[in-house]
Amino acid sequence: MVSSINPSVKMIAIVIPGLILSLAFDVMTPLIFFLYLLMVTVFFSGVNLKKWLMFFIPLSVFALMLAWTSMIHTDEKYAGGDILVDFWWIEITTGSLQVGISLALRSMCFIALTLLFALTTDPTKLMLSMMQQLKLPPKLTYGILAGYRFLPLFKHELDLLRQAHQIRGVSRTKGIKGRIQRFKRYLIPLLANAIRKSERVANAMESKGFTGSRERTHYHDIQVQKRDWMFLASMVSALVLAFYLSYTFGYLNIFGKTF
């Protein structure tokens, strides 16, 4: 199951394919990798598919919108081929259609990669693993964890502020201008409170003997096992396979050059 993979290794296994995939401008490469990601998500992630779709569908609609931009403003380098649509200022050729679909599929791969990570990773474990495996300084790790723990408090404070404004009759103007004003009215007090709290937390940590030294023991000992490396290897080799297959089928296109 993907949720039991070491969080740091999992993060690396997700970042690397995301970067390498950005080389491809053809349809085949991201399509093959996307199918692989779907397979991993369905069979090995243990993620509730309904929940997954709830995140995936709205995000991919958005990806299509961005692909539309690149489809009608395609650079000459990619826009070759026959003209399919020529309407007013919109001109779509087979080349630009290909780029549009490729970029949409790339975004969908990114979304699937993200969800594979976000829906299977516990934030606290990720931080602890980053401290133990990636050697993030303990001071930073616990600082971030403390900040993260404040989040429910922020929500509570936001409610308090809202009520305080209401009781004093501060009007809630509508529209964009009102929204910006409200943003300003809430942001400064929220941040000021957060800063005061962070100072108190730092004092409390120090008074309880936290020195931030790296020579410390861990209550939650997070390890890297063989299956973590296997997960990393499978992600990278799936991507290599996607590149190889689209090369053998003659689709592979890296930055406008067909191979």
């Binding site: 970042v15 403003h73 650079d75 380098k77 990570f117 900040g147 941040l191």
Partner: protein, 201 residues
């Protein structure tokens, strides 16, 4: 990291956490702007006009704490929080956070972390825009776009960095210092000193 006081690190982390969530919120704003501009075929521009918001924690943290690395680390923490909270861009956001933070840190590094006037803060935002654009050019496939669209997007990003990162970033920090919450940090101390000087004069 050894010259840092724990309270400065915790402050930086908290700023990173708060702005990580603000960044996430602005993804929604960017999406609305994108949907408005998408029918015109300028969807990508929706994000560029507000891009400066995603550099802002660098300027705020550096301006308040005034230590080497504040701009870079605060931006990376914000990116990490976005990832933890489940951002749509995913863990590769850590890389863009690193690049943006590096660009923002550059301005302060060039002044040896001694100059925190408005022009340096603006320069810091522009640095983040300059360094981050080539990275997004690569990952978002801007290479497939017509040159004039890419130029337009780049200009929008730089202008947004000047206005939102530089000017708004300084404004928010100054407003915070006025509340008195920053008395234990460099910006609060400077403000106190200034008040005293004004009093004497």
């Amino acid at each position: 990291m050894n010259q840092w006081k724990l309270k400065e690190i915790v402050l930086m982390s908290i700023l990173g956490v708060v702005f990580g969530f603000i960044y996430l919120g602005f993804f929604g704003v960017g999406k609305i702007l994108t949907s408005i501009m998408a029918p015109l075929g300028l969807g990508d521009l929706g994000y560029e006009v507000i891009y400066g918001i995603w550099f802002i924690v660098s300027v705020i943290a550096a301006y308040i704490i005034r230590k080497p690395g504040a701009a870079l680390m605060a931006e990376m923490i914000a990116a990490l929080v976005e990832v933890l909270a489940g951002s749509t861009t995913g863990p590769s956001l850590l890389i863009s956070g690193f690049i943006q933070g590096l660009g923002a840190e550059l301005a302060f590094a060039l002044t040896r972390w001694k100059d925190y006037r408005l022009r340096i803060l603006i320069f810091s935002g522009v640095g983040a825009a300059l360094l981050s654009f080539p990275y997004h050019f690569f990952t978002q496939g801007y290479d497939a776009l017509e040159p004039w669209v890419v130029t337009l997007m780049f200009s929008a990003r730089v202008i947004s960095a000047i206005l939102i990162t530089g000017l708004l970033g300084k404004f928010i920090s100054d407003q915070l210092a006025k509340t008195g919450a920053l008395q234990g940090y460099a910006l609060g101390k400077e403000m106190k000193q200034k008040k005293r000087d004004d009093h004497v004069a």
